[in-house]
Subunit: 304 residues, 2 copies
Protein backbone atom coordinates (compact mmCIF):
# COMPACT_ATOMS: atom_id res chain seq x y z
CA UNK A 1 0.00 0.00 0.00
CA UNK A 2 1.55 3.36 -1.02
CA UNK A 3 1.44 6.32 1.34
CA UNK A 4 -1.15 7.90 -0.92
CA UNK A 5 -3.39 4.84 -0.84
CA UNK A 6 -3.06 4.64 2.91
CA UNK A 7 -3.96 8.33 3.19
CA UNK A 8 -7.01 7.84 0.96
CA UNK A 9 -8.06 4.95 3.18
CA UNK A 10 -7.72 7.07 6.32
CA UNK A 11 -9.60 9.96 4.71
CA UNK A 12 -12.41 7.57 3.80
CA UNK A 13 -12.57 6.01 7.27
CA UNK A 14 -12.50 9.46 8.90
CA UNK A 15 -15.50 10.28 6.74
CA UNK A 16 -17.19 13.22 8.42
CA UNK A 17 -16.75 16.75 7.11
CA UNK A 18 -14.40 19.05 9.00
CA UNK A 19 -15.90 20.84 12.00
CA UNK A 20 -17.00 24.49 11.75
CA UNK A 21 -13.54 25.81 12.60
CA UNK A 22 -11.62 23.59 10.17
CA UNK A 23 -10.74 24.92 6.72
CA UNK A 24 -8.75 21.89 5.55
CA UNK A 25 -7.85 18.53 6.98
CA UNK A 26 -5.86 15.52 5.81
CA UNK A 27 -3.92 15.82 2.56
CA UNK A 28 -1.96 19.08 2.46
CA UNK A 29 1.27 20.20 4.15
CA UNK A 30 -0.71 21.48 7.13
CA UNK A 31 -4.22 21.26 8.52
CA UNK A 32 -5.91 24.67 8.47
CA UNK A 33 -8.13 25.93 11.26
CA UNK A 34 -9.96 29.27 11.69
CA UNK A 35 -10.26 30.57 15.28
CA UNK A 36 -13.41 32.67 15.76
CA UNK A 37 -12.96 36.40 15.89
CA UNK A 38 -9.39 36.77 14.60
CA UNK A 39 -8.31 37.58 11.07
CA UNK A 40 -5.98 34.60 10.84
CA UNK A 41 -6.01 30.99 9.78
CA UNK A 42 -3.88 28.73 11.93
CA UNK A 43 -1.76 25.97 10.39
CA UNK A 44 -0.85 22.72 12.10
CA UNK A 45 1.69 20.15 10.95
CA UNK A 46 3.38 17.13 12.51
CA UNK A 47 6.55 15.40 11.33
CA UNK A 48 8.27 12.31 12.60
CA UNK A 49 12.07 12.06 12.69
CA UNK A 50 13.30 8.62 13.65
CA UNK A 51 16.60 6.86 14.20
CA UNK A 52 17.57 4.52 11.37
CA UNK A 53 14.75 5.93 9.24
CA UNK A 54 15.61 9.63 8.97
CA UNK A 55 18.82 9.93 11.02
CA UNK A 56 21.68 7.68 12.08
CA UNK A 57 23.26 7.74 15.50
CA UNK A 58 26.77 7.28 14.12
CA UNK A 59 26.74 10.13 11.61
CA UNK A 60 24.20 12.74 12.68
CA UNK A 61 25.44 15.12 15.41
CA UNK A 62 22.82 15.80 18.09
CA UNK A 63 22.57 19.54 17.36
CA UNK A 64 21.87 18.70 13.70
CA UNK A 65 19.17 16.21 14.73
CA UNK A 66 17.53 18.90 16.87
CA UNK A 67 17.77 21.41 14.04
CA UNK A 68 16.33 18.98 11.52
CA UNK A 69 13.47 17.84 13.76
CA UNK A 70 12.18 21.41 13.90
CA UNK A 71 13.16 22.36 10.33
CA UNK A 72 10.93 19.61 8.91
CA UNK A 73 7.89 21.10 10.61
CA UNK A 74 8.81 24.71 9.79
CA UNK A 75 9.21 23.76 6.15
CA UNK A 76 5.53 22.73 6.04
CA UNK A 77 4.57 26.12 7.50
CA UNK A 78 6.78 27.83 4.88
CA UNK A 79 5.08 25.83 2.11
CA UNK A 80 1.76 27.42 3.03
CA UNK A 81 3.20 30.92 3.29
CA UNK A 82 2.83 30.93 7.07
CA UNK A 83 4.65 32.48 10.00
CA UNK A 84 5.43 30.05 12.84
CA UNK A 85 3.96 30.69 16.30
CA UNK A 86 4.83 27.79 18.57
CA UNK A 87 5.76 24.14 18.55
CA UNK A 88 5.48 21.03 20.69
CA UNK A 89 8.05 18.24 20.67
CA UNK A 90 7.46 14.61 21.55
CA UNK A 91 10.78 12.96 22.21
CA UNK A 92 11.58 9.33 22.97
CA UNK A 93 15.19 8.95 24.07
CA UNK A 94 17.24 5.77 23.62
CA UNK A 95 19.63 4.55 26.32
CA UNK A 96 22.66 5.95 24.48
CA UNK A 97 21.35 9.53 24.58
CA UNK A 98 22.80 10.94 27.80
CA UNK A 99 22.70 14.42 29.26
CA UNK A 100 25.33 15.81 26.85
CA UNK A 101 23.51 14.45 23.83
CA UNK A 102 20.19 15.84 25.07
CA UNK A 103 21.67 19.28 25.80
CA UNK A 104 23.25 19.46 22.38
CA UNK A 105 20.04 18.27 20.70
CA UNK A 106 18.04 21.03 22.41
CA UNK A 107 20.67 23.65 21.60
CA UNK A 108 20.33 22.85 17.88
CA UNK A 109 16.57 22.77 18.19
CA UNK A 110 16.24 25.99 20.18
CA UNK A 111 18.70 27.94 18.04
CA UNK A 112 16.44 27.42 15.03
CA UNK A 113 13.37 28.07 17.20
CA UNK A 114 14.76 31.46 18.26
CA UNK A 115 15.85 32.38 14.73
CA UNK A 116 12.36 31.77 13.44
CA UNK A 117 10.32 33.08 16.39
CA UNK A 118 8.94 29.65 17.21
CA UNK A 119 8.15 29.18 20.91
CA UNK A 120 8.64 25.69 22.39
CA UNK A 121 5.36 25.30 24.28
CA UNK A 122 5.41 21.68 25.41
CA UNK A 123 5.47 18.07 24.30
CA UNK A 124 6.01 14.62 25.71
CA UNK A 125 9.04 12.66 26.93
CA UNK A 126 9.60 8.92 26.97
CA UNK A 127 12.29 6.29 26.83
CA UNK A 128 12.54 3.90 23.88
CA UNK A 129 15.07 1.64 22.19
CA UNK A 130 15.55 4.10 19.34
CA UNK A 131 15.29 7.85 19.06
CA UNK A 132 11.89 9.20 18.01
CA UNK A 133 11.12 12.93 17.56
CA UNK A 134 7.68 14.11 16.55
CA UNK A 135 7.43 17.83 15.97
CA UNK A 136 4.17 19.77 15.97
CA UNK A 137 4.32 23.31 14.59
CA UNK A 138 1.53 25.87 14.69
CA UNK A 139 1.76 28.81 12.30
CA UNK A 140 -0.55 31.45 10.90
CA UNK A 141 -1.53 33.17 7.66
CA UNK A 142 -4.07 35.93 6.97
CA UNK A 143 -7.54 34.38 6.69
CA UNK A 144 -8.09 32.42 3.47
CA UNK A 145 -4.55 33.06 2.22
CA UNK A 146 -2.75 29.78 2.92
CA UNK A 147 -0.91 28.42 -0.11
CA UNK A 148 -2.37 25.04 -0.98
CA UNK A 149 -1.42 22.10 -3.19
CA UNK A 150 -4.68 22.16 -5.06
CA UNK A 151 -4.64 25.53 -6.83
CA UNK A 152 -2.37 24.88 -9.83
CA UNK A 153 -4.06 25.59 -13.20
CA UNK A 154 -3.08 24.81 -16.80
CA UNK A 155 -0.78 27.54 -18.09
CA UNK A 156 0.80 28.32 -14.70
CA UNK A 157 4.58 28.32 -14.56
CA UNK A 158 6.26 25.73 -12.31
CA UNK A 159 9.14 26.96 -10.14
CA UNK A 160 11.56 25.63 -7.55
CA UNK A 161 13.75 27.52 -5.11
CA UNK A 162 17.45 26.85 -4.60
CA UNK A 163 19.36 23.84 -5.91
CA UNK A 164 18.06 20.30 -5.93
CA UNK A 165 19.64 17.01 -4.94
CA UNK A 166 22.05 18.44 -2.38
CA UNK A 167 20.61 16.55 0.56
CA UNK A 168 20.65 13.18 -1.25
CA UNK A 169 24.22 13.83 -2.43
CA UNK A 170 25.22 14.74 1.11
CA UNK A 171 23.70 11.59 2.54
CA UNK A 172 25.64 9.56 -0.03
CA UNK A 173 29.01 11.29 0.39
CA UNK A 174 28.89 12.70 3.94
CA UNK A 175 31.28 15.48 3.06
CA UNK A 176 31.36 19.13 2.10
CA UNK A 177 28.56 21.54 1.38
CA UNK A 178 26.15 18.76 0.43
CA UNK A 179 26.51 17.02 3.81
CA UNK A 180 26.02 20.35 5.58
CA UNK A 181 22.96 20.81 3.43
CA UNK A 182 21.63 17.41 4.47
CA UNK A 183 22.28 18.06 8.17
CA UNK A 184 20.97 21.63 8.34
CA UNK A 185 18.12 22.21 5.93
CA UNK A 186 16.81 25.77 5.97
CA UNK A 187 13.05 26.17 6.09
CA UNK A 188 12.13 28.76 3.44
CA UNK A 189 9.88 30.85 5.65
CA UNK A 190 10.61 34.30 4.16
CA UNK A 191 10.24 32.90 0.65
CA UNK A 192 6.91 31.29 1.56
CA UNK A 193 5.55 34.61 2.83
CA UNK A 194 6.80 36.32 -0.36
CA UNK A 195 5.12 33.69 -2.57
CA UNK A 196 1.87 34.17 -0.68
CA UNK A 197 1.75 37.94 -0.27
CA UNK A 198 3.61 39.21 -3.35
CA UNK A 199 3.48 36.54 -6.07
CA UNK A 200 0.07 35.11 -5.15
CA UNK A 201 1.37 31.63 -6.02
CA UNK A 202 -1.49 29.40 -7.21
CA UNK A 203 -0.05 26.34 -5.42
CA UNK A 204 2.96 25.46 -3.29
CA UNK A 205 4.47 22.64 -1.27
CA UNK A 206 7.85 21.82 0.18
CA UNK A 207 10.21 19.36 -1.48
CA UNK A 208 10.63 16.74 1.22
CA UNK A 209 10.39 13.51 -0.77
CA UNK A 210 11.96 14.43 -4.12
CA UNK A 211 10.81 16.56 -7.07
CA UNK A 212 9.34 13.70 -9.11
CA UNK A 213 7.08 12.46 -6.32
CA UNK A 214 6.21 15.86 -4.86
CA UNK A 215 5.31 17.39 -8.25
CA UNK A 216 3.20 14.31 -8.95
CA UNK A 217 1.39 14.88 -5.63
CA UNK A 218 0.83 18.58 -6.31
CA UNK A 219 -0.60 17.73 -9.76
CA UNK A 220 -2.86 15.04 -8.29
CA UNK A 221 -4.29 17.45 -5.71
CA UNK A 222 -4.79 20.15 -8.37
CA UNK A 223 -6.21 17.72 -10.96
CA UNK A 224 -3.63 18.74 -13.58
CA UNK A 225 -0.47 17.53 -15.36
CA UNK A 226 2.99 19.03 -15.51
CA UNK A 227 5.62 19.37 -18.22
CA UNK A 228 9.20 19.97 -17.13
CA UNK A 229 10.90 21.57 -20.15
CA UNK A 230 13.73 23.59 -18.63
CA UNK A 231 17.05 22.56 -17.09
CA UNK A 232 16.74 21.77 -13.40
CA UNK A 233 18.83 23.75 -10.89
CA UNK A 234 21.20 21.00 -9.76
CA UNK A 235 23.18 21.19 -6.53
CA UNK A 236 26.89 21.09 -7.51
CA UNK A 237 27.94 17.48 -8.23
CA UNK A 238 24.46 16.07 -7.57
CA UNK A 239 23.53 13.30 -10.04
CA UNK A 240 20.53 13.49 -12.36
CA UNK A 241 18.81 10.91 -10.14
CA UNK A 242 19.51 12.89 -6.99
CA UNK A 243 18.16 16.08 -8.57
CA UNK A 244 14.97 14.38 -9.79
CA UNK A 245 14.21 11.99 -6.97
CA UNK A 246 16.37 12.92 -3.95
CA UNK A 247 14.46 13.78 -0.77
CA UNK A 248 14.94 16.27 2.07
CA UNK A 249 15.98 19.34 0.11
CA UNK A 250 13.19 21.32 1.81
CA UNK A 251 13.13 23.82 -1.04
CA UNK A 252 9.75 25.13 -2.19
CA UNK A 253 7.95 23.92 -5.30
CA UNK A 254 5.33 26.41 -6.50
CA UNK A 255 3.19 27.48 -9.41
CA UNK A 256 2.42 31.03 -10.52
CA UNK A 257 -0.08 32.33 -13.07
CA UNK A 258 1.56 33.11 -16.43
CA UNK A 259 0.91 36.87 -16.25
CA UNK A 260 2.74 37.35 -12.94
CA UNK A 261 6.47 38.07 -13.28
CA UNK A 262 8.67 35.98 -10.99
CA UNK A 263 12.06 37.45 -10.07
CA UNK A 264 15.13 35.28 -10.77
CA UNK A 265 16.03 35.20 -7.09
CA UNK A 266 14.69 36.06 -3.64
CA UNK A 267 17.13 37.03 -0.90
CA UNK A 268 20.01 35.38 -2.77
CA UNK A 269 18.06 32.18 -3.38
CA UNK A 270 17.47 31.41 -7.08
CA UNK A 271 13.89 30.90 -8.23
CA UNK A 272 13.99 28.73 -11.36
CA UNK A 273 11.18 28.14 -13.79
CA UNK A 274 11.32 24.45 -14.69
CA UNK A 275 8.16 24.04 -16.77
CA UNK A 276 4.42 24.55 -17.01
CA UNK A 277 1.20 23.12 -15.68
CA UNK A 278 -0.76 21.42 -18.48
CA UNK A 279 -4.18 19.91 -19.01
CA UNK A 280 -4.07 16.15 -18.93
CA UNK A 281 -4.45 13.20 -16.61
CA UNK A 282 -4.24 14.33 -13.00
CA UNK A 283 -0.81 13.68 -11.56
CA UNK A 284 1.08 12.98 -14.79
CA UNK A 285 4.50 14.58 -15.03
CA UNK A 286 6.58 14.76 -18.21
CA UNK A 287 10.30 15.50 -18.40
CA UNK A 288 11.27 16.84 -21.82
CA UNK A 289 8.36 14.98 -23.41
CA UNK A 290 8.78 11.65 -21.62
CA UNK A 291 6.74 10.37 -18.67
CA UNK A 292 8.61 10.90 -15.40
CA UNK A 293 7.99 8.16 -12.84
CA UNK A 294 7.32 9.37 -9.29
CA UNK A 295 10.36 7.72 -7.72
CA UNK A 296 10.87 10.03 -4.75
CA UNK A 297 10.83 8.69 -1.23
CA UNK A 298 7.66 6.86 -0.21
CA UNK A 299 7.76 5.02 3.12
CA UNK A 300 4.97 2.76 1.95
CA UNK A 301 5.98 1.83 -1.59
CA UNK A 302 5.63 -1.89 -2.20
CA UNK A 303 8.99 -3.64 -2.49
CA UNK A 304 9.52 -4.70 -6.13
CA UNK B 1 18.03 12.11 35.30
CA UNK B 2 14.34 11.99 36.29
CA UNK B 3 11.66 13.22 33.89
CA UNK B 4 11.19 16.23 36.14
CA UNK B 5 14.89 17.12 36.07
CA UNK B 6 14.95 16.69 32.31
CA UNK B 7 11.92 18.96 32.02
CA UNK B 8 13.54 21.59 34.23
CA UNK B 9 16.62 21.44 32.01
CA UNK B 10 14.55 21.93 28.87
CA UNK B 11 12.61 24.79 30.46
CA UNK B 12 15.90 26.45 31.37
CA UNK B 13 17.41 25.97 27.91
CA UNK B 14 14.21 27.23 26.26
CA UNK B 15 14.60 30.34 28.40
CA UNK B 16 12.55 33.03 26.70
CA UNK B 17 9.14 34.00 28.01
CA UNK B 18 6.12 32.72 26.11
CA UNK B 19 5.05 34.78 23.10
CA UNK B 20 2.12 37.21 23.34
CA UNK B 21 -0.43 34.54 22.47
CA UNK B 22 0.85 31.91 24.92
CA UNK B 23 -0.72 31.64 28.36
CA UNK B 24 1.29 28.63 29.56
CA UNK B 25 4.04 26.48 28.13
CA UNK B 26 6.04 23.49 29.33
CA UNK B 27 4.99 21.82 32.59
CA UNK B 28 1.23 21.30 32.70
CA UNK B 29 -1.06 18.76 31.02
CA UNK B 30 -1.47 21.06 28.00
CA UNK B 31 0.10 24.20 26.60
CA UNK B 32 -2.39 27.09 26.64
CA UNK B 33 -2.67 29.60 23.85
CA UNK B 34 -5.02 32.58 23.38
CA UNK B 35 -6.08 33.36 19.81
CA UNK B 36 -6.77 37.06 19.29
CA UNK B 37 -10.41 38.12 19.17
CA UNK B 38 -12.12 34.97 20.43
CA UNK B 39 -13.31 34.33 23.97
CA UNK B 40 -11.47 31.02 24.23
CA UNK B 41 -8.15 29.63 25.31
CA UNK B 42 -6.88 26.78 23.18
CA UNK B 43 -5.19 23.76 24.73
CA UNK B 44 -2.53 21.64 23.03
CA UNK B 45 -1.17 18.31 24.18
CA UNK B 46 0.97 15.57 22.66
CA UNK B 47 1.32 11.97 23.85
CA UNK B 48 3.51 9.18 22.60
CA UNK B 49 2.27 5.59 22.52
CA UNK B 50 4.96 3.11 21.58
CA UNK B 51 5.28 -0.62 21.05
CA UNK B 52 7.05 -2.41 23.92
CA UNK B 53 6.84 0.75 26.04
CA UNK B 54 3.10 1.40 26.27
CA UNK B 55 1.59 -1.43 24.22
CA UNK B 56 2.54 -4.97 23.19
CA UNK B 57 1.89 -6.42 19.78
CA UNK B 58 0.94 -9.82 21.18
CA UNK B 59 -1.69 -8.67 23.67
CA UNK B 60 -3.09 -5.31 22.58
CA UNK B 61 -5.76 -5.56 19.85
CA UNK B 62 -5.35 -2.88 17.15
CA UNK B 63 -8.70 -1.20 17.85
CA UNK B 64 -7.68 -0.85 21.52
CA UNK B 65 -4.33 0.65 20.49
CA UNK B 66 -6.16 3.20 18.33
CA UNK B 67 -8.58 3.99 21.15
CA UNK B 68 -5.79 4.37 23.67
CA UNK B 69 -3.60 6.55 21.42
CA UNK B 70 -6.40 9.12 21.27
CA UNK B 71 -7.66 8.60 24.84
CA UNK B 72 -4.27 9.61 26.26
CA UNK B 73 -4.47 12.98 24.54
CA UNK B 74 -8.14 13.53 25.36
CA UNK B 75 -7.42 12.80 29.02
CA UNK B 76 -5.05 15.81 29.12
CA UNK B 77 -7.79 18.00 27.64
CA UNK B 78 -10.23 16.64 30.26
CA UNK B 79 -7.74 17.44 33.03
CA UNK B 80 -7.91 21.14 32.09
CA UNK B 81 -11.69 21.16 31.81
CA UNK B 82 -11.53 21.48 28.02
CA UNK B 83 -13.67 20.40 25.10
CA UNK B 84 -11.71 18.73 22.28
CA UNK B 85 -11.73 20.31 18.81
CA UNK B 86 -9.40 18.36 16.56
CA UNK B 87 -6.40 16.07 16.59
CA UNK B 88 -3.42 15.11 14.45
CA UNK B 89 -1.85 11.66 14.49
CA UNK B 90 1.74 10.78 13.62
CA UNK B 91 1.96 7.07 12.99
CA UNK B 92 5.01 4.92 12.25
CA UNK B 93 3.95 1.46 11.17
CA UNK B 94 6.07 -1.66 11.66
CA UNK B 95 6.27 -4.36 8.95
CA UNK B 96 3.80 -6.60 10.81
CA UNK B 97 1.02 -3.99 10.69
CA UNK B 98 -0.82 -4.83 7.48
CA UNK B 99 -3.99 -3.39 5.99
CA UNK B 100 -6.30 -5.24 8.38
CA UNK B 101 -4.36 -4.07 11.42
CA UNK B 102 -4.35 -0.48 10.17
CA UNK B 103 -8.08 -0.51 9.40
CA UNK B 104 -8.87 -1.89 12.83
CA UNK B 105 -6.54 0.62 14.51
CA UNK B 106 -8.29 3.54 12.79
CA UNK B 107 -11.73 2.13 13.60
CA UNK B 108 -10.88 2.14 17.30
CA UNK B 109 -9.33 5.58 17.00
CA UNK B 110 -12.16 7.13 14.99
CA UNK B 111 -14.93 5.64 17.11
CA UNK B 112 -13.58 7.54 20.13
CA UNK B 113 -12.98 10.61 17.94
CA UNK B 114 -16.63 10.64 16.87
CA UNK B 115 -17.93 10.00 20.39
CA UNK B 116 -16.01 12.99 21.67
CA UNK B 117 -16.41 15.37 18.70
CA UNK B 118 -12.69 15.31 17.90
CA UNK B 119 -11.95 15.84 14.21
CA UNK B 120 -8.91 14.00 12.75
CA UNK B 121 -7.27 16.88 10.85
CA UNK B 122 -3.96 15.41 9.72
CA UNK B 123 -0.67 13.96 10.85
CA UNK B 124 2.30 12.10 9.46
CA UNK B 125 2.93 8.55 8.27
CA UNK B 126 6.16 6.57 8.24
CA UNK B 127 7.53 3.08 8.42
CA UNK B 128 9.63 1.91 11.38
CA UNK B 129 10.70 -1.29 13.09
CA UNK B 130 8.25 -0.75 15.91
CA UNK B 131 4.90 0.96 16.19
CA UNK B 132 4.98 4.63 17.21
CA UNK B 133 1.86 6.78 17.63
CA UNK B 134 2.08 10.40 18.63
CA UNK B 135 -1.24 12.09 19.20
CA UNK B 136 -1.77 15.86 19.19
CA UNK B 137 -5.09 17.10 20.54
CA UNK B 138 -6.36 20.68 20.42
CA UNK B 139 -9.16 21.62 22.79
CA UNK B 140 -10.69 24.78 24.19
CA UNK B 141 -11.91 26.37 27.42
CA UNK B 142 -13.46 29.78 28.11
CA UNK B 143 -10.69 32.38 28.40
CA UNK B 144 -8.67 32.12 31.60
CA UNK B 145 -10.67 29.14 32.86
CA UNK B 146 -8.33 26.19 32.19
CA UNK B 147 -7.81 23.98 35.24
CA UNK B 148 -4.13 24.00 36.14
CA UNK B 149 -1.80 22.00 38.34
CA UNK B 150 -0.59 25.04 40.22
CA UNK B 151 -3.72 26.33 41.96
CA UNK B 152 -4.03 23.99 44.97
CA UNK B 153 -4.04 25.82 48.33
CA UNK B 154 -3.72 24.63 51.94
CA UNK B 155 -7.14 23.57 53.21
CA UNK B 156 -8.46 22.41 49.82
CA UNK B 157 -9.94 18.94 49.68
CA UNK B 158 -8.19 16.37 47.45
CA UNK B 159 -10.42 14.19 45.29
CA UNK B 160 -10.14 11.43 42.71
CA UNK B 161 -12.72 10.16 40.27
CA UNK B 162 -13.53 6.48 39.77
CA UNK B 163 -11.51 3.55 41.11
CA UNK B 164 -7.74 3.38 41.15
CA UNK B 165 -5.32 0.62 40.19
CA UNK B 166 -7.57 -1.04 37.59
CA UNK B 167 -5.25 -0.47 34.67
CA UNK B 168 -2.17 -1.82 36.49
CA UNK B 169 -4.17 -4.84 37.68
CA UNK B 170 -5.39 -5.42 34.12
CA UNK B 171 -1.88 -5.27 32.72
CA UNK B 172 -0.78 -7.83 35.32
CA UNK B 173 -3.68 -10.26 34.88
CA UNK B 174 -4.92 -9.61 31.33
CA UNK B 175 -8.41 -10.73 32.21
CA UNK B 176 -11.79 -9.39 33.16
CA UNK B 177 -12.93 -5.85 33.86
CA UNK B 178 -9.43 -4.71 34.81
CA UNK B 179 -7.97 -5.75 31.45
CA UNK B 180 -10.82 -4.01 29.65
CA UNK B 181 -10.08 -1.00 31.79
CA UNK B 182 -6.42 -1.09 30.77
CA UNK B 183 -7.24 -1.46 27.07
CA UNK B 184 -10.02 1.14 26.85
CA UNK B 185 -9.46 4.00 29.27
CA UNK B 186 -12.24 6.59 29.20
CA UNK B 187 -11.16 10.21 29.07
CA UNK B 188 -13.20 12.07 31.71
CA UNK B 189 -14.22 14.96 29.48
CA UNK B 190 -17.68 15.63 30.96
CA UNK B 191 -16.27 15.45 34.47
CA UNK B 192 -13.48 17.88 33.55
CA UNK B 193 -16.01 20.42 32.27
CA UNK B 194 -18.09 19.95 35.45
CA UNK B 195 -15.03 20.49 37.68
CA UNK B 196 -14.18 23.66 35.78
CA UNK B 197 -17.60 25.23 35.35
CA UNK B 198 -19.52 24.03 38.43
CA UNK B 199 -17.03 23.12 41.16
CA UNK B 200 -14.37 25.71 40.23
CA UNK B 201 -11.68 23.16 41.13
CA UNK B 202 -8.51 24.92 42.31
CA UNK B 203 -6.23 22.40 40.55
CA UNK B 204 -6.59 19.28 38.42
CA UNK B 205 -4.58 16.77 36.42
CA UNK B 206 -5.14 13.34 34.98
CA UNK B 207 -3.81 10.21 36.68
CA UNK B 208 -1.55 8.80 34.00
CA UNK B 209 1.52 7.76 36.00
CA UNK B 210 0.04 6.68 39.35
CA UNK B 211 -1.49 8.59 42.27
CA UNK B 212 1.71 8.84 44.35
CA UNK B 213 3.74 10.43 41.54
CA UNK B 214 0.96 12.54 40.07
CA UNK B 215 -0.13 13.99 43.43
CA UNK B 216 3.54 14.74 44.16
CA UNK B 217 3.74 16.61 40.84
CA UNK B 218 0.54 18.58 41.50
CA UNK B 219 1.86 19.57 44.94
CA UNK B 220 5.23 20.61 43.47
CA UNK B 221 3.58 22.84 40.87
CA UNK B 222 1.29 24.37 43.52
CA UNK B 223 4.05 24.72 46.14
CA UNK B 224 2.10 22.77 48.75
CA UNK B 225 1.99 19.39 50.55
CA UNK B 226 -0.75 16.79 50.70
CA UNK B 227 -2.10 14.52 53.42
CA UNK B 228 -4.05 11.44 52.34
CA UNK B 229 -6.19 10.51 55.36
CA UNK B 230 -9.16 8.70 53.83
CA UNK B 231 -9.49 5.22 52.30
CA UNK B 232 -8.61 5.21 48.60
CA UNK B 233 -11.26 4.02 46.10
CA UNK B 234 -9.62 0.78 44.98
CA UNK B 235 -10.55 -0.99 41.77
CA UNK B 236 -11.92 -4.45 42.75
CA UNK B 237 -9.01 -6.84 43.48
CA UNK B 238 -6.35 -4.18 42.84
CA UNK B 239 -3.46 -4.39 45.31
CA UNK B 240 -2.46 -1.55 47.63
CA UNK B 241 0.60 -0.98 45.41
CA UNK B 242 -1.50 -0.85 42.26
CA UNK B 243 -3.91 1.64 43.82
CA UNK B 244 -1.12 3.92 45.04
CA UNK B 245 1.40 3.67 42.21
CA UNK B 246 -0.28 2.04 39.20
CA UNK B 247 -0.32 4.12 36.01
CA UNK B 248 -2.77 4.64 33.16
CA UNK B 249 -6.01 4.88 35.10
CA UNK B 250 -6.76 8.22 33.39
CA UNK B 251 -9.04 9.25 36.24
CA UNK B 252 -8.95 12.88 37.36
CA UNK B 253 -7.15 14.09 40.46
CA UNK B 254 -8.44 17.47 41.64
CA UNK B 255 -8.59 19.87 44.54
CA UNK B 256 -11.57 21.96 45.63
CA UNK B 257 -11.79 24.79 48.17
CA UNK B 258 -13.19 23.59 51.54
CA UNK B 259 -16.38 25.65 51.32
CA UNK B 260 -17.51 24.14 48.01
CA UNK B 261 -19.65 20.98 48.36
CA UNK B 262 -18.55 18.14 46.08
CA UNK B 263 -21.24 15.58 45.17
CA UNK B 264 -20.43 11.92 45.90
CA UNK B 265 -20.69 11.04 42.21
CA UNK B 266 -20.93 12.59 38.75
CA UNK B 267 -22.76 10.71 36.01
CA UNK B 268 -22.38 7.42 37.89
CA UNK B 269 -18.67 7.97 38.52
CA UNK B 270 -17.76 8.25 42.23
CA UNK B 271 -15.90 11.35 43.38
CA UNK B 272 -13.95 10.42 46.50
CA UNK B 273 -12.34 12.79 48.94
CA UNK B 274 -8.99 11.23 49.87
CA UNK B 275 -7.40 13.98 51.94
CA UNK B 276 -6.41 17.64 52.19
CA UNK B 277 -3.82 20.04 50.86
CA UNK B 278 -1.53 21.18 53.67
CA UNK B 279 1.19 23.74 54.19
CA UNK B 280 4.64 22.17 54.12
CA UNK B 281 7.51 21.36 51.82
CA UNK B 282 6.40 21.61 48.19
CA UNK B 283 5.70 18.19 46.77
CA UNK B 284 5.56 16.20 50.00
CA UNK B 285 2.75 13.67 50.25
CA UNK B 286 1.76 11.82 53.44
CA UNK B 287 -0.36 8.68 53.63
CA UNK B 288 -2.00 8.34 57.05
CA UNK B 289 0.84 10.30 58.64
CA UNK B 290 3.74 8.60 56.87
CA UNK B 291 5.73 9.97 53.92
CA UNK B 292 4.53 8.44 50.63
CA UNK B 293 7.32 7.94 48.11
CA UNK B 294 6.48 9.02 44.52
CA UNK B 295 6.83 5.58 42.98
CA UNK B 296 4.52 5.97 39.99
CA UNK B 297 5.79 5.48 36.49
CA UNK B 298 8.73 7.70 35.45
CA UNK B 299 10.39 6.87 32.13
CA UNK B 300 13.54 8.56 33.31
CA UNK B 301 13.98 7.27 36.85
CA UNK B 302 17.51 6.07 37.50
CA UNK B 303 17.77 2.32 37.95
CA UNK B 304 18.51 1.53 41.60
Amino acid sequence: MSERKLLERIRKLAGAEPGPEMVAGIGDDCAICRPAGGGEDWLFTTDLLMEDVHVLRATHPPAAVGHKALARGLSDIAAMGGRPKFCLLSLALPPWAGTRWVDSFYRGFLQLARQTGTYLAGGDLARAEKLVCDIVVCGAVPQGKALRRNGARAGDGIYVSGWLGGSALGLATRTGAAWKRHLRPEPRLELGEFLRSQLHASAAMDLSDGLSLDLHRLCLESGVSAAIDQPLPAFPKASHEQVLHGGEDYELLFTVAAHIPVPPAFGGLPLTRIGSITEGRAGEVELFGKALPALGYDHFREET
